[in-house]
Structures are given as structure tokens and as C-alpha cells.
């Protein structure tokens, strides 16, 4: 197929291979090396989409990441919204359409892989243009570990878009040679198709590598499509080049209006002619090479409109040679054309006044308003910028300790300057980390005539009588106009940061690469201040849009968050357990039998524990080994009750409080030996309690000779519960005297259980006769299975966390964090007995004497029995005093903390924190529920076996 706008003899695309793609329903062809934008232009397609606010036709303004207009929605091979046509590498079978602003995500899950890679280097160089290549080469030859990243598939940067010579050969030949040398260095890594998007503290730079995007449907599924690189660099050099900026004039947004340097890139990198007849409008020298090269490639240059009064003689001569007329001291004031520019309106411009306008027919209007160094990442690194009047742009004021710029990013726009600056940047960066860098021989560019100064021109006055700037676009993606900027300053805004947010300029996908500095210039003019004093906006990450999928990397699906399991987990899975997430743990919730509902299963499990025997996996309980001569002293200071008097072989329940006297955790403490204790914490608090204890030990009482060691996962812990638990234990631990007196409540024994050395504790979280069998985790499954087998004759029933909750709630054993919320004291829980009155001090003691903590009308833990014994009150429900809900504000007495169906009580019940709760026992209170109120009777919290007769079986 013929593509009418290919320039023969130009470009780095592979003409021997043809790719087919579809845009807006029409099939076109292109070549490997094309972007979607270059392929569209090669087919004569300029209009990409309508603008987001005004629906105006828009085309391709630029050739790279600065593109504000040409947003596309990819439809195939997989839907992806809001990509710039200028950065989408063309592939066969690509289906895309132009976008007015927002696109749409796929409704199907993305099948592609995304991953992450960490990397480290002495020097990170961002940008493989002439400066970045020179920096990398110098550093590589000095033996440094270097990573070079570049957004393009082929290194060379601006060299790919020009026709410069180095040592008499095309500069791209030099670039290819440098890359070949770099590839041979073991300590140098060159990452192509990789864009830095965030600079963070301590030299951490995040970059996105597009690994298989360019392969389209042929991308292998096992290779990640995109990768986020997390690069830790001792030194960073941003050789990120510069972005050309346009000039604002009326109707400056039509398809066919393009940055001059971008048109040059389309010719030289892609072999594409972006039009047939062009007008070039410039404020500086850089548009002349574009005009000349395009003219030589066959584009008719109708005129060069130079805002400067003086045009350097060598450009005049070169244009004259090609029959190109130059109009010095002129500007473009506006354009004609709807779907494509057809005419540029030109007028003389001096001392703020426009002369008579004249139209020049064209299908391409090239604009250059100067060049802005690409300093977004340097700015993210908190690098300061200063306005350079010589180039009319913001440049880095000075290098940071670990971050600097080189080449155009520093405002050095000549090729010779960029190469020298690149080597200099390498030398400075390596010197900062104590390394030396020898001189690197640089190739010589063709001699350039002296550059003439640029004329700084932000906008051309509107020639029309209507509102000034109302047709002059600043941010094309946001459809924000010069008149919007003037409205902002008219409203009193003085800061460019405020104007940015008022107008939305610079907030689109392109981060204002073509509009940000222009806005500063227009604001400065409007306010009558110096743009150097006004400054420009600070950049923040990400510098380019990054898909959430890429940021997530492998942290999705089963790897989203670590799933922690106990050694018994496979058994639970095999036996049909439903699991509950407790922090990162998967804990068996209940074990339904065929067709059982959760309610039915839990009632059955509860019945087994109260009437027969049941077992559960309690391995997730936090366990902390406390050793040393002062272990008892430490525990006395951290628990509210006395621990140092505990005898070896015995166990005590304890509560820890914060300095405010509020309960923060509870558990059991066993005395293993004279100098050794083992304490348990609630599952969710294991790490927090260890940190809490270490903090006191390390910061307040470093004199105590105690060591704390987490042993949570060393042990599998199996509570064996119920009146027949003794019988089961006797079967699996024949050597252990399980008699009531030989092995009393709150004691522990070392014993052989199922052939395994175990520690058996007689503690109960249900009120029933119960044992807790602890074995090293690798023996857990053996013991669990042995208990299950031995208990078969007694109908042993595995139970989950739900049944555990019901059983303990029937006995009013609180769950810290469920029945408490950080504002509840042990006394509020009805556990004054756990607070020592003898100990001289412990954490929280002082607070118990505070008047606030002694008030009788604090919220206290009570039981609640709904009048209708079938009604299950929702946890969190509020409690009020009246059967009618009064007008707001409703006086609320408290809330329900736990609520269950009880098999033992044959009814529902709840625990609640109620104001003056202990004084209300016997009262009827009300719980608003679904527009009515449910009457409930306040009771003592313990609802089952108040006398504790079941404890010994």
C-alpha cells in the first residue's frame, strides 16, 4: 500500500516490513519504528479527536511525551485508555480511536503480567541523547556502575530527529557505536523503552519499562508487559533534553499546526512529511534547520515568519538558496481552516502593535516559541530553577548533592555543548562519590554559525475585537485559554500554583509540558512582573501516567497481601473449613457439614464443646518468651496483676494496660522456669505487644536483665475443649496423669502427646474443662490428627473462630479490640480483680486513681438478653433508654460489642458497653433496629455457668 506522506531516503523505520493498523475504523499501514502518530501522519491523517470542552478538531502537535492533543483509546489487542499517539509504538493489528479527553478501562481483567525490578548503581543517567550518551560513556570508562534509561526503543534522543554530523558521519552512527560499547561493559545496563516518572529521597528513581507493548497481540504471555524499575542511585544525571514550546495566537489549535522541531523529527526519525506546504513561525534559530531540511525533503516552505527584527545572515542565505521568503519582525496572528489549517494570518508586530494582516495558504503551520529544558524530575528532587533570560526558559539553578542535569536539560542547546556538558556531568557526579573520571575524547560536530538571541514571545495579541485571548489555547488537552489565565489574574490570583489549579492548566496527562512555562509568561505579563520572579510550578510524581496495574506489579490475586497460614492449614482445607481473615492470617471460621448453614454449624460446634469434646487451631496466638533474672520484675511492671509470684509450673491470666489505664491486651502467662516465662497475646496484637514490651525495656528500663523473643510460630497450639477432653488427652498422652488434682486448673505439664514432646496447659477460654496442647510446629499435624482420631469415639468436633467467640462470650471473656476500643479499663470489664492493689507501680496504675477513671457512670461491660430470644442484634448497634426513638440528638447509652446465638442458652444474647451498666442490671433498655426498637434486659455479663462448675469437668 502507498502511504502518500513518506519521504524517501529519510527515517529509521523499517520500510521492508509493513504493519497494518486501524484508526477510527479505517485501516492504514505503517512500519516497525513508527509511532501511531507518525504512521497516521504518513497516511495524511492529522485530525485525531475533538477537544474535550469545545469539541474543536485537534491533531498532532508534537512527536513525543509532550503531546497535549493526540490522545487515543486502544481497542485491540486489549483496551487501554488515554495513551498519546506520539508514544505508542506501532504494531500489527493495532486498533485505536481518537479520544476527547477521557477513555475507558476494559471491563475484562487485564491478562498481561506486570512486575517490578530493583536495581542499584553509582550513576543513573536518564536520557540517551547526546548528553546522556556522553555522560554514560565517560562514567562507564571510569569503571562506574551505570544504568542508562531512555524512553525510545533506540538510543540517540534528539540525534534521531536531526541531520547533524559527528566526525563527518551521521550522529546516529556515533550513538550506535556508543551503545555498542556500553553493552559490552558488565557494569553498565542500558534500558530502552523506559521512562523515569518519579524521583524520591535518597536517590530512588522509579521508571516504567514498556517491555512488550510494541509486540501487540504477539507479546508472549509469560513476559511482563510493563515493569516498574526501582533504581537506587548514588548519583543521578538527568539528560532529559528540552521540549519545544509553542506561541499562543488565535486559533492556534487546528490540526496541521505543529511544533517545528517535531516536524523535523517526523521527517528524520520516521521519514514522514507532515504536510505539503508549510508556514514556519519562529522566535529563535531552531526552526531554521527544520525549515531547510523539510524544504530539501520536498515540502514547500511558503514563508518563515520570524518574530525577531534581525535574522542571522546565514539563515537568510540558506533560505534564499531554496527560494524561501523570510518575514522578519512578523508574527502569526491567527489561522483559518476547520479540520485542517488552510491559512496562516501574518502581520508585522513591533512595540506591541500589529500591522496589517495577510493570509498565507498552507496545510502545515510550524511553530517554535523556544525550548524549555525538561526539568520535571530535577524539580521533583527539589532542585531549584532559575529563569535564564538568554534562552527565555527555566533551567536548574544549581546541581543538588546527588542530582544534576546535562545538555539541553541544563539549557545547553548546541550538540557540541551537550556532549561536553555530558562528560562534565559524569566527572562531577563521580567526583561526588569519590571517584575520578578521565577525559573522554568527544566527536566533533560540524561547525555552527554563532547563534542569534531568541525573542521571548509568549503570545501574540488578539487582532479581533472580541475578548482578548478567547481563541488562544494554552493547554490544548484541558481546552484552557489565554482568557482563562487572564480571568484568574483578574480574580486576584498571583501565584502560578494557584493559576494552575484555577485554570487546570498543566494538570492533564502531559503535565503541562507545552503549556506550563507559557502560563508563567502570560501571568507575568498580565501582572506586570518579571517572569524570573514569578517562577514556574513545582513538578510532582508521576511525571507521566502510569497504569495502576504496573504500580501493583505482582501484588495482585493470591499475592496481593501475604496469606499467613498455620501448620495445620492443609488439614483445615481438606476438611472443608470456611476461613476468616484475621490480619494476614487465614483462620478456620467454622467447618460446615454438607448443606449446613453457618448458624447450624456453629451451634453444632458449640454443643460439642459444651457436651462432648471439640478442638481448634489456636496456633496464631502471639507467644513471647521472656527470659532473664529480671523477667518477673518486667512482667510485674507491664501487667496489672502480679506475675513474679507465679510458681514454676503454674499459669496466670493477665491484662496489659496503656499508660492511660486502658486495656491493650490480655492473655496467659506461664512460668517455665525460675528465670523464664512464656506469655500469650491476642492473634492480632502479637507484634504490637512485643514492640510495646521492647519499647519499655529499651527506653525506660535498660537496666533490667531480660530478653524477649517471639516464638509465635515455633508452636502449634491446640485447645482441646469439653467435658470429654480429659478422656481424649488420656488416650494420646498415656504417660500424663490427667487427674483433676494431679493436673489442676491453671497449671502446665511437659508430656509426650502422640509420641511428641509437648507442653500441655490447663487453661480454658470457654469455661469448660479444657487443655491447650503446644508442640513444635512441625509436629502439629501429627498431634492434631492423633487427637482427632482418639476423639472419634467421643464425637470430637473441630471448631473455628466463630464458635470460640460464642463460647467465650457466654462466659463474658472479653476480646480486646472487639469488646474494648482503647477507652475501656479492666474495671469497666468487671475485672477489678486483675488489677493489683499491692504492687508499688505498673503501667497504667497512676491512671486508675484519676477521677475520670473512677466515675460510676463509665461505660461498663454487661450482658444483654433481647426480649425476643430469636432476635440477633447487630454488633455495633446503639442502645437507648426509651422504647420510642426520641428526636435527635438521641442520647445513646452505649453499643453492642458482641452478639451471638447460643446453643447452651437456647437463645440469642449480646455483650455491650453501657453507661453505668453495672447499676442497670435488671433494667430494660432498647436497641433501635430497622425502624423499630428491640427491648433488651441488662444482665450480669456472665450468662453461662456463673459458678464455674464446669471448669474441672
Amino acid at each position: 500500500m502507498n502511504t502518500p506522506f513518506r519521504a524517501h531516503g529519510h527515517g529509521h523505520v523499517d520500510r521492508d516490513t509493513t504493519l497494518s493498523f486501524t484508526f477510527d475504523g479505517i485501516t492504514h499501514t505503517g512500519h516497525p519504528g513508527d509511532t501511531l502518530a507518525s504512521a497516521l501522519l504518513a497516511n495524511g491523517v492529522h485530525r485525531v479527536a475533538g477537544s474535550i470542552k469545545y469539541g474543536r478538531p485537534r491533531g498532532v502537535l508534537a512527536a513525543g511525551a509532550e503531546e497535549p492533543n493526540a490522545l487515543v483509546q486502544i481497542e485491540a489487542p486489549f483496551p487501554e485508555p488515554m495513551l498519546t499517539a506520539t508514544t505508542v509504538e506501532l504494531y500489527d493489528g493495532l486498533v485505536a480511536r481518537g479520544l476527547s479527553g477521557q477513555g475507558r478501562l476494559s471491563s475484562r481483567p487485564d491478562p498481561a503480567r506486570y512486575d517490578t525490578m530493583h536495581a542499584h548503581c553509582d550513576l543513573l543517567v536518564v536520557g540517551a541523547g547526546p548528553a546522556g550518551l556522553a555522560t554514560t560513556l565517560a562514567a562507564a570508562r571510569a569503571g562506574a556502575r551505570v544504568i542508562l534509561i531512555d524512553e525510545l526503543p533506540r538510543p540517540g534522543g534528539s540525534l534521531l530527529g536531526g541531520q547533524e554530523l559527528l566526525d563527518g558521519a551521521p550522529a546516529t552512527v556515533w550513538a550506535d557505536g556508543v551503545v555498542a560499547e556500553l553493552d559490552a561493559h558488565a557494569d553498565v545496563q542500558v534500558l530502552r523503552r523506559t521512562t523515569a516518572f518519579g524521583h524520591y529521597d535518597d536517590g530512588l528513581v522509579l521508571a516504567l519499562e514498556k517491555r512488550t507493548d510494541h509486540l501487540g497481540a504477539t507479546a508472549p504471555a509469560h513476559i511482563s508487559r510493563q515493569r516498574v524499575w526501582r533504581i537506587r542511585a548514588k548519583q543521578v544525571v538527568y539528560a532529559t533534553g528540552a521540549y519545544e514550546r509553542p506561541v499562543a495566537f488565535d486559533n492556534n489549535d487546528r490540526p496541521g499546526i505543529m511544533l517545528a522541531g517535531s516536524a523535523r523529527t517526523y521527517l528524520n526519525r520516521f521519514g514522514v512529511l507532515p504536510g505539503r506546504r508549510a508556514v514556519v513561525f519562529t522566535t529563535n534559530d531552531s526552526a531554521y534547520p527544520a525549515a531547510l531540511e523539510l524544504a530539501d525533503a520536498g515540502i514547500r516552505i511558503a514563508a518563515v515568519i520570524d518574530a525577531r527584527e534581525e535574522v542571522p545572515e546565514h539563515w537568510r542565505a540558506a533560505c534564499h538558496e531554496r527560494g524561501i521568503g523570510i518575514r522578519a519582525g512578523h508574527v502569526v496572528t491567527g489561522t483559518s481552516g476547520v479540520e485542517r489549517v488552510t491559512r496562516a494570518h501574518v502581520a508585522a508586530f513591533g512595540r506591541g502593535r500589529l500591522g496589517e494582516r495577510q493570509g498565507i495558504g498552507c496545510d502545515l503551520l510550524l511553530v517554535s516559541g523556544g525550548w524549555n529544558p525538561a526539568v520535571a524530575l530535577f524539580s521533583q528532587a527539589r532542585g531549584a530553577l532559575r529563569y535564564d533570560t538568554g534562552i527565555g526558559a527555566f533551567v536548574p539553578a544549581h546541581a543538588l548533592d546527588g542530582v544534576r542535569t546535562a545538555g539541553s536539560a541544563s539549557g545547553t542547546f548546541t550538540l557540541a555543548g551537550a556532549l561536553a556538558d555530558g562528560v562534565d556531568a559524569a566527572r562531577r557526579a563521580l567526583s561526588a562519590i569519590g571517584r575520578t573520571c578521565r577525559t573522554t575524547a568527544l566527536p566533533s560536530p560540524a561547525p555552527l554559525p554563532d547563534a542569534a538571541p531568541a525573542h521571548v514571545l509568549w503570545r501574540v495579541p488578539s487582532p479581533q475585537d472580541d475578548q482578548d485571548g478567547a481563541k488562544q489555547f494554552v493547554d490544548l488537552q484541558r481546552d484552557a485559554l489565554v482568557s482563562d489565565v487572564l480571568r484568574a489574574t483578574g480574580a486576584g490570583l498571583r501565584s502560578v500554583e494557584h493559576v494552575k489549579r484555577y485554570t487546570t492548566i498543566g494538570t492533564a496527562h502531559d503535565q503541562g509540558r507545552t503549556s506550563g512555562v507559557m502560563t508563567s509568561g502570560i501571568v507575568a505579563e498580565a501582572l506586570g512582573v518579571d517572569v524570573a520572579d514569578l517562577g514556574t510550578t513545582r513538578s510532582r510524581p508521576p511525571a507521566l501516567p502510569v497504569a495502576f496495574a504496573a504500580l501493583a506489579g505482582r501484588n495482585r490475586g493470591e499475592l496481593f497481601d501475604p496469606i499467613r497460614v498455620t501448620a495445620l492449614h492443609p488439614w483445615h482445607v481438606e476438611h472443608g473449613a470456611r476461613f476468616e481473615d484475621v490480619g494476614q492470617w487465614k483462620r478456620p471460621w467454622y467447618y460446615p457439614r454438607a448443606d449446613e448453614t453457618m448458624d447450624e454449624a456453629v451451634l453444632r460446634e458449640c454443643r460439642a464443646a459444651r457436651t462432648g469434646v471439640a478442638m481448634m487451631d489456636g496456633s496464631t496466638l502471639g507467644k513471647i518468651n521472656v527470659q532473664g533474672p529480671d523477667a518477673g520484675v518486667l512482667l510485674d511492671r507491664l501487667y496489672t496483676n502480679m506475675m513474679s509470684t507465679l510458681k514454676v509450673g503454674r499459669i496466670r491470666y493477665g491484662v496489659m494496660c496503656g499508660v492511660d489505664g486502658m486495656a491493650i491486651d490480655d492473655g496467659t502467662v506461664i512460668r517455665v522456669a525460675e528465670r523464664e516465662f512464656l506469655l500469650t497475646t491476642t492473634t492480632g496484637n502479637a507484634a504490637k505487644v512485643l514492640a510495646w514490651m521492647e519499647e519499655w525495656l529499651q527506653t525506660e528500663w535498660p537496666d533490667l536483665r531480660v530478653h524477649l523473643t517471639s516464638v509465635t510460630e515455633h508452636w502449634v497450639t491446640i485447645p482441646l475443649v469439653g467435658p470429654r477432653s480429659r478422656d481424649v488427652l488420656a488416650l494420646v498422652a498415656p504417660g500424663l496423669d490427667v487427674g483433676k488434682d494431679a493436673f489442676p486448673f491453671m497449671s502446665w505439664r511437659d508430656a509426650t502427646v502422640a509420641g511428641v514432646a509437648a507442653r500441655v496447659c490447663r487453661i480454658s477460654f470457654s469455661g469448660e474443662l479444657a487443655y491447650e496442647i503446644n508442640v513444635p510446629a512441625w509436629d502439629g499435624i501429627t498431634v492434631w490428627k492423633a487427637l482427632h482420631t482418639a476423639g472419634g469415639a467421643f464425637g470430637i468436633t473441630p471448631y473455628g473462630t466463630e464458635t470460640m467467640h460464642v463460647l467465650r462470650a457466654e462466659k463474658a471473656y472479653p476480646i480486646i479490640g472487639q469488646d474494648t476500643d482503647g477507652t475501656v479499663t479492666p474495671q469497666d470489664l468487671g475485672m477489678s480483680w486483675v488489677v493489683s492493689k499491692k504492687k508499688p507501680d505498673f503501667v497504667g496504675k497512676r491512671s486508675f486513681t484519676r477521677a475520670e477513671n473512677r466515675r460510676g457512670d463509665r461505660k461498663q461491660l454487661v450482658g444483654l438478653l433481647p426480649a425476643d430470644e430469636r432476635v440477633l442484634l447487630p454488633e455495633g448497634a446503639q442502645i437507648i433508654a426509651t422504647s420510642e426513638i426520641p428526636a435527635p440528638p438521641v442520647p445513646m447509652l452505649g453499643h453492642i460489642t458482641s452478639s451471638y446465638r447460643s446453643d447452651a442458652l437456647r437463645r440469642t444474647f449480646a455483650l455491650a458497653l453501657v453507661r453505668s451498666g453495672t447499676q442497670r442490671i435488671g433494667e430494660t433498655l432498647y436497641v433501635p433496629l430497622d425502624g423499630r426498637t428491640v427491648p433488651v434486659t441488662v444482665t450480669e455479663p456472665v450468662l453461662f455457668d456463673k459458678e464455674g462448675t464446669r471448669r474441672d469437668g
Binding site: G628, H707, W778
Partner: protein, 195 residues
């Protein structure tokens, strides 16, 4: 009476076949049921010196591991080491340490089942680890004998560099995180297994 000790089940015993299918560049093997003892002692104290004499080893400084004949000592903190030894030497090692400590203040805790150990070897190991670990494994930065407690993906691990250029490492991971880590490791090798 001698009772036959039942078989032990390590956290990753069910992963052996999956590990076996990994490419040669990254071999993964669980070293199950190793003896692991947490030692807490003040460096340079009488107890520490006595332990060093008993083990015939110098307790390593920050970020280092030391190997003697039968025990590997991993630095875990300013006064904390993890002693790793074969399964059979647990009681002997415990006894030696306790005897060396005597009445001095230093403590030993058996945490053998707390973590399992993965031995990774092969030329791809550094790259596989770089997918989830922020540590620089370059031999000039992290030579053989380095011991770092860090994160691999989202799992807390202790990483011991045993072969030049991290071509051979140990990962010690808490038992509850082991299957997460194994899942992550297999996933991280996807690209090397080919399509």
C-alpha cells in the same frame, strides 16, 4: 521404652515437586527442620566470650554470618544471633550454650520451628531476588557471608549470601509466610520457564 518419633512436617514439604520444575538457573530447596536457636548476649561480655570459646567462633558483627564446623551464626541485631545447625545437634547445642553461659546473663531460646530455610542456587538467583528485594546483591556491596534481615516481596526474611555474587543464598522465612514466599518465588521464575 523407646518410642519411634513421628515424622516431622516442614512448612514447604508439599512444594518439593513445584521447586523441582524450576529452571536450572534457579534451584530452590527447602532445608527442613534445622536447629535454630536465638542467642541474646551483650557482645564482649563474659557470657559472649564464653560462648565464642565453646563454639570456636567469633560472634559476627552487623550484617554478617559466620560458619564454624557445625553451626552457622547469623547476626540478627546488636545483641542477637540466630544459631543454625543440623536437626540432630539441637540438644547438644542447647546444652553447650547453657553450660557456656552458666550463671551469666545471656539467654538461648529454641525457635527451630519458627522459620524454615530455603536454599537458592544458580546464576539467576540475584535477578529473581531483585524482583522483590531492595537489597543490592552486587558482590562488592554484599559479599559472601552477608546476612540481612529484610523483605522479599511482602514477606519478612533473613537473607544469607553463601555463594559469590549471590549465586547461592539462604532465605530464612517465618513458617506462616513460607507458602506465600514459595508462591511468590515460583511466580517470579515465570519468565525463565518460557512460554
Amino acid at each position: 521404652m523407646t518410642v519411634e518419633t513421628p515424622a516431622r512436617f516442614s512448612p514447604l514439604s508439599q512444594w518439593r515437586d513445584s521447586f523441582a520444575q524450576l529452571p536450572t538457573g534457579v534451584q530452590v530447596r527447602e532445608l527442613p527442620c534445622l536447629t535454630q536457636l536465638t542467642l541474646r548476649a551483650e557482645p564482649g561480655s563474659t557470657a559472649a566470650r564464653s560462648i565464642e570459646a565453646s563454639l570456636g567462633i567469633t560472634l559476627p558483627g552487623p550484617l554478617r554470618a559466620e560458619v564454624s564446623e557445625d553451626v552457622e551464626v547469623l547476626w540478627m541485631g546488636p545483641d542477637e544471633w540466630l544459631l543454625v545447625a543440623p536437626e540432630v545437634s539441637r540438644h547438644d547445642l542447647l546444652a553447650r550454650l547453657r553450660s557456656a553461659i552458666g550463671d551469666e546473663f545471656a539467654t538461648v531460646t529454641d525457635v527451630s520451628a519458627q522459620r524454615t530455610t530455603l536454599a537458592l542456587s544458580g546464576r539467576l538467583v540475584p535477578e529473581v531476588l531483585a524482583r522483590g528485594c531492595a537489597i543490592d546483591l552486587d558482590p562488592r556491596v554484599t559479599p559472601v557471608g552477608s546476612c540481612l534481615t529484610t523483605l522479599l516481596a511482602q514477606a519478612p526474611i533473613t537473607l544469607v549470601v553463601r555463594g559469590e555474587g549471590a549465586s547461592s543464598v539462604w532465605l530464612l522465612v517465618r513458617a506462616s509466610f513460607a507458602s506465600y514466599l514459595a508462591t511468590w518465588l515460583l511466580d517470579a521464575c515465570t519468565e525463565y520457564r518460557g512460554s
